[in-house]
């Protein structure tokens, strides 16, 4: 029996650029930034006061009573999953063949911290009975699974900033291995809060360019000084190819393969020789039945940190060789900020849009490109991708040395 193929039939998102896929994508193509100065009361207590808040607050898309028992990450997941499910045509599927794989890097951290404040200030009796279902990292997946009554399995891989990509790869495998016909998958994050931001700042991981929020996230620029935290998420509906064809679904692209490796090097720093990234790319290409010649676009992890961007760029150059010359590399975190566990997912949504519209989105804020970067970065304006069969890669890396590469292609 030949391997079951997996295609993308629905997309959903809520991001610092827009409350859905269409508005996020058009803002991305227009070169906008979703980063802004935080107005939260606590913002003055931490050294970094900028972040990519979602453009549309969940309260504009959801009833108050539903919201109050959901962590913000769960609200993002439901909002994006509802859009993706509708976009897929609300398929009539055997519920025992429907699964959910949605990741988060940190889980319900704002719930945890808010409830801890209540515990300290008012006492144990006042801690919400919804706290555990709200703070558990599998909460976003569980709530989407509950809403869709999915019975093939609900899962949450966790690998820091690679979580969203790992979830999508896991979902692909579930369909390949005949555990399901449709999986709602992706990643979300809602960690814009004083504690996680102070903690990332303590690692010197965040940009301190607080006077110029829209230009703070600047992957590959010589003056980049750290990432900008973003929030939101992206959701994809993955479906077995024959199943999608049989119901006449609109097929956006095929998810053709994944490559997973680990660095075994450092808990937070990328391995400077980039061998883990190179191996992940090689595995993804082999799994997808593609070669470096087929790749025309890559959405890089490129978070705007001094060390990470160049380490990744070097690894891409080594992995793709001379073929890197025809790969249009986009670093969309320049516009969205870094969505942590949502990053690999929203960037996969952008890749599917890029393949569909044959348009690589721009990387903004590069005033002077770092001379150490020897890959072809799409700057300032979108770039047309070639006609014919084309393929693209999505890189995601996470603290802990996790490397995940997903391969998508036109169909």
């Amino acid at each position: 029996m030949s391997r079951r193929r997996v295609v993308v039939t629905g997309l959903g998102a809520t991001t610092p650029l827009g409350g859905d896929v269409a508005s996020s994508w058009s803002a991305l193509l227009a070169g906008r930034s979703g980063v802004r100065t935080l107005t939260d009361e606590w913002a003055s207590t931490i050294p970094v006061t900028i972040a990519g808040r979602v453009e549309v607050e969940p309260s504009e898309a959801m009833e108050r009573v539903e919201m109050r028992r959901l962590d913000r990450s769960e609200q993002f997941a439901l909002i994006a999953a509802r859009e993706a499910w509708k976009d897929a045509g609300s398929p009539d599927v055997d519920l025992e063949r429907l699964g959910v794989v949605i990741a988060s890097g940190i889980g319900g951290v704002t719930t945890l911290l808010d409830q801890y404040d209540i515990l300290k200030n008012k006492g144990a009796r006042f801690v919400s009975p919804h706290t555990v279902p709200m703070l558990m990292p599998n909460g976003p997946a569980a709530n989407v699974g509950l809403e869709l009554k999915a019975k093939a399995g609900v899962h949450t891989p966790v690998s820091a900033c690679a979580s969203g990509a790992e979830a999508i790869g896991y979902a692909m495998e579930m369909i390949r291995f005949d555990r399901a016909d449709i999986i709602v998958t992706g990643g979300v994050e809602a960690a814009v809060h004083a504690l996680p931001m102070a903690a990332f700042a303590a690692m010197k991981a965040l940009s301190t360019r607080k006077d110029d929020p829209k230009r703070a996230s600047r992957p590959y620029d010589v003056d980049r000084d750290g990432f900008v935290l973003g929030e939101g998420g992206g959701i994809l509906v993955l479906e077995e190819y024959e199943h999608a064809k049989a119901r006449g679904a609109t097929i956006y692209a095929e998810i053709a393969g994944q490559g997973l490796t680990s660095d075994g090097y450092h808990i937070a720093a990328p391995d400077p020789d980039g061998s883990g990234v190179q191996r992940a790319i090689a595995f993804a290409l082999r799994d997808a039945g593609l070669t470096t010649r087929d790749i025309v676009h890559l959405n890089a992890h490129a978070t705007s940190t001094p060390v990470g961007d160049v380490a990744e760029a070097n690894a891409l150059r080594l992995a793709l060789g001379a073929d890197a010359d025809h790969v249009a590399v986009s670093a969309t975190k320049s516009s969205t900020g870094h969505l942590l566990g949502g990053a690999g997912a929203i960037e996969s949504v952008f890749i599917v849009k890029a393949l569909q519209e044959r348009l690589a989105p721009p990387t903004i804020n590069i005033e002077n490109i770092d001379p150490a970067v020897t890959i072809d970065v799409v700057r300032d304006k979108p770039r047309a991708l070639p006609a014919g069969d084309i393929a693209a890669l999505n890189d995601s890396f996470g603290f802990g040395g996790h490397n995940v590469v997903l391969a998508f292609r036109t169909l």
Partner: protein, 82 residues
């Protein structure tokens, strides 16, 4: 001084609407929290804690299961406030 049943009912209506999103107009003394108003066990905990705070009474955990209807809760709170 004991609270009046009418005041307690009005306060409970506000709490149940806030916690469970049930319109206050549909909340009556003979309505069952679980069967009629669809207040699940987690939300019931929230209702109890909010009622304790609002009315200044204690509702022990072993009494909560006895409060099947809105009227049961009103009676308990009025008695406890006496």
């Amino acid at each position: 001084m004991a609270l009046s049943p009418a005041d307690v009912l009005a306060g409970l209506k506000e709490i149940v609407e806030e916690v469970a999103g049930i319109p206050a107009a549909t909340i009556e003394l003979d309505k069952s929290f679980t069967d009629d108003l669809d207040v699940d066990s987690l939300s019931m905990v929230e209702v109890v804690v909010a009622a304790e705070e609002r009315f200044g009474v204690k509702i022990p955990d072993d009494q909560v299961s006895e409060l099947a209807t809105v009227g049961d809760a009103v009676n308990f709170i009025v008695k406890a406030s006496a």
